[in-house]
């Protein structure tokens, strides 16, 4: 195999080495910042107790008749992501039409729509959640708003790509037979895009349920709040059962939503 390597021109070789040196320099700099020596001395004992906690989950926490338990926390998480997805699935429709190129005649309109959407997408949802907590107080409501607003960025982008890919035939036929814009939307555009919209919303729901489990870490409701309390008091048995609950919840919703998505399309 060795004899077949051809000699590259000088310029390409210099470029290769420059890129290699730049990448090496970046890595050298990046590893400098990691403070590998700063690992705590208690690491071993803590890891052992965590492992012990995970092996013996606090089953009593799963259901407590009065007050906060695992099932209620998971239910809250599920509800936050359902409501959040629902809010964004509706809020993003106008954004999607704004950002799709075939719905407006001027490129500036759709271009500005796309810019707004990418601006929304850059905000991590946890930051959105913190801002809403400051505004409306801690609780499930802040979580719903955070997911609802943050999901617009991705959902509207996917929606607008769907709208851009529709068949223009029915639309032209309706315009030719004298339908107004609203009728064109109702009878030509919507029937083509609704299944795809639903599928994307379900996909976003799968992402949102993962986010909803972490929203509680900053106080936006759901299972994350009891988790952060259990972590702070080092109650590893409880942490174990909560993590188990989260994993089961996510796997179940993934399965159900995947099955629904297959049926829709």
């Amino acid at each position: 195999m060795r004899g077949t390597t051809s000699y590259k021109p000088m310029g390409a070789r210099i470029r290769f080495w420059v890129i290699a040196i730049v990448i090496l320099a970046i890595y050298y700099w990046a590893f400098q910042g990691m403070h590998f020596e700063g690992i705590q001395a208690t690491t071993k004992s803590v890891s052992l107790s965590i492992l012990d906690g995970f092996l013996h989950p606090d089953w009593a926490y799963v259901y407590i008749p009065e007050g906060e338990d695992l099932l209620r926390g998971l239910l809250d998480t599920l509800i936050i992501s359902i409501l959040g997805t629902f809010v964004s699935a509706f809020l993003c429709i106008p954004f999607a039409f704004w950002a799709s190129t075939n719905m407006s005649k001027r490129i500036a309109v759709s271009g500005s729509g796309k810019a707004v959407l990418s601006f929304i997408r850059v905000f991590p949802e946890i930051i959105v959640a913190i801002l809403f907590i400051k505004a409306v107080g801690p609780g499930a409501f802040a979580g719903v708003l955070a997911l609802g607003i943050h999901s617009i960025g991705m959902l509207a982008k996917l929606y607008s790509e769907t709208i851009e890919s529709i068949d223009s035939g029915p639309q032209e036929a309706l315009i030719a037979s004298g339908a107004n814009r609203l009728q064109v939307l109702r009878y030509a555009v919507l029937p083509q895009v609704i299944p795809q919209f639903l599928s994307y919303s379900l996909y976003r729901f799968e992402i949102n349920i993962r986010s909803a489990t972490t929203l509680g870490l900053v106080g936006a409701g759901g299972i994350g709040t009891p988790l952060i309390f259990a972590l702070q008091v080092r109650n590893w048995n409880r942490v174990g059962v909560i993590l188990l609950g989260i994993v089961v919840l996510i796997i179940l919703t993934d399965l159900i939503s995947g099955w629904l998505r297959k049926r829709i399309i």
Binding site: T43, S47, I79, L83, I126, V136, T214, L217, I228
Partner: protein, 270 residues
């Protein structure tokens, strides 16, 4: 524009179908509305709360503008640390992902006793969100960038391994069969058959995960795992919203710059 129905007489089969379809649709919408109402009763999330909260949101935004520009020198260091966490986390995660992706792909590892357990492990890793990893590692290794980096290692390992093994399964089997036919070993097939085909995809997914990780690293500090999030948490706790908005602004700029560069490289690759 209503569907045409015959004025009288027995309904024809297509009509029956239309009616049942309509009933189904009404039932679906009813179900959705009931679920939503139950949800909002359970968590007490109502539109009323939104109307009450709106003025507060307005005053919050007012306090955030203008951002405190003099804060930039202070946040520059933690910002760089955020980027370092993302780089190291993505790289280590990507390195671990390579052998796992090879073991998961059915066309490289036909033995399902190996590939299916690997896939299950991969799926389990992917169910845990990055902040959960971070909060556990902070408990184990203490507050600091090391915990954040480990969280990102696991998080990016899940994404990269999943995407890469799907790319490996989609490669052209021709070269692999040709090499096997002339007597190449498993290792040689992987190096000369699989790697050249899968490498562009791997690098592309790697860069994509890096983009995701920059965003993730910027919030890891909220649970104590290093980076800019710690300062964000602090300035929000002290009600210095002008500083918080400066941090958010700088994060946005860094994310946009890295997204732009990474997207350009990815376009070139694929």
């Amino acid at each position: 524009m209503k569907p045409v129905t015959p004025a009288s007489g027995k309904k024809s089969p297509p009509d029956m179908q239309l009616t049942t379809q309509r009933y189904k649709r009404i039932a679906t919408w009813l179900l959705i509305v009931i679920v939503l109402v139950l949800c909002s009763i359970q968590t007490k999330v109502t539109p009323y709360q939104l109307i009450v909260g709106l003025p507060q949101m307005g005053s919050l935004l007012q306090e955030m503008i203008p951002p405190d520009w003099s804060y930039v020198p202070t946040i520059w260091g933690p910002m760089l640390e955020t980027i370092q966490i993302a780089i190291v986390g993505t790289t280590l995660g990507g390195i671990i992902a390579v052998p796992v992706a090879l073991l998961c792909a059915y066309n490289i590892m036909p033995n399902k006793l190996v590939s299916i357990p690997m896939r299950i492990v991969l799926n389990l890793v992917r169910t845990v969100p990055d902040l959960l990893f971070a909060s556990i590692f902070v408990a184990i290794f203490g507050i600091g960038p090391f915990a954040g980096m480990l969280a990102l290692v696991f998080f990016s390992f899940g994404i990269i391994a999943k995407l890469t093994f799907e790319a490996i399964e989609a490669i052209d089997p021709g070269p692999l069969e040709a090499m096997t036919a002339v007597g190449a070993s498993r290792m040689q097939v992987i190096i000369f058959g699989v790697v050249p085909q899968a490498l562009p995809y791997f690098i592309s997914y790697f860069l994509y995960t890096f983009e995701v990780n920059i965003r993730a690293a910027s919030v890891l500090g909220l649970v104590g795992a290093g980076g800019i999030g710690l300062l964000l948490d602090r300035s929000l706790g002290l009600f210095r919203y002008d500083r918080a908005s400066m941090i958010i602004l700088l994060t946005l700029v860094i994310v946009l710059v890295i997204d732009y560069g990474s997207t350009r490289i990815r376009r070139k690759l694929l």
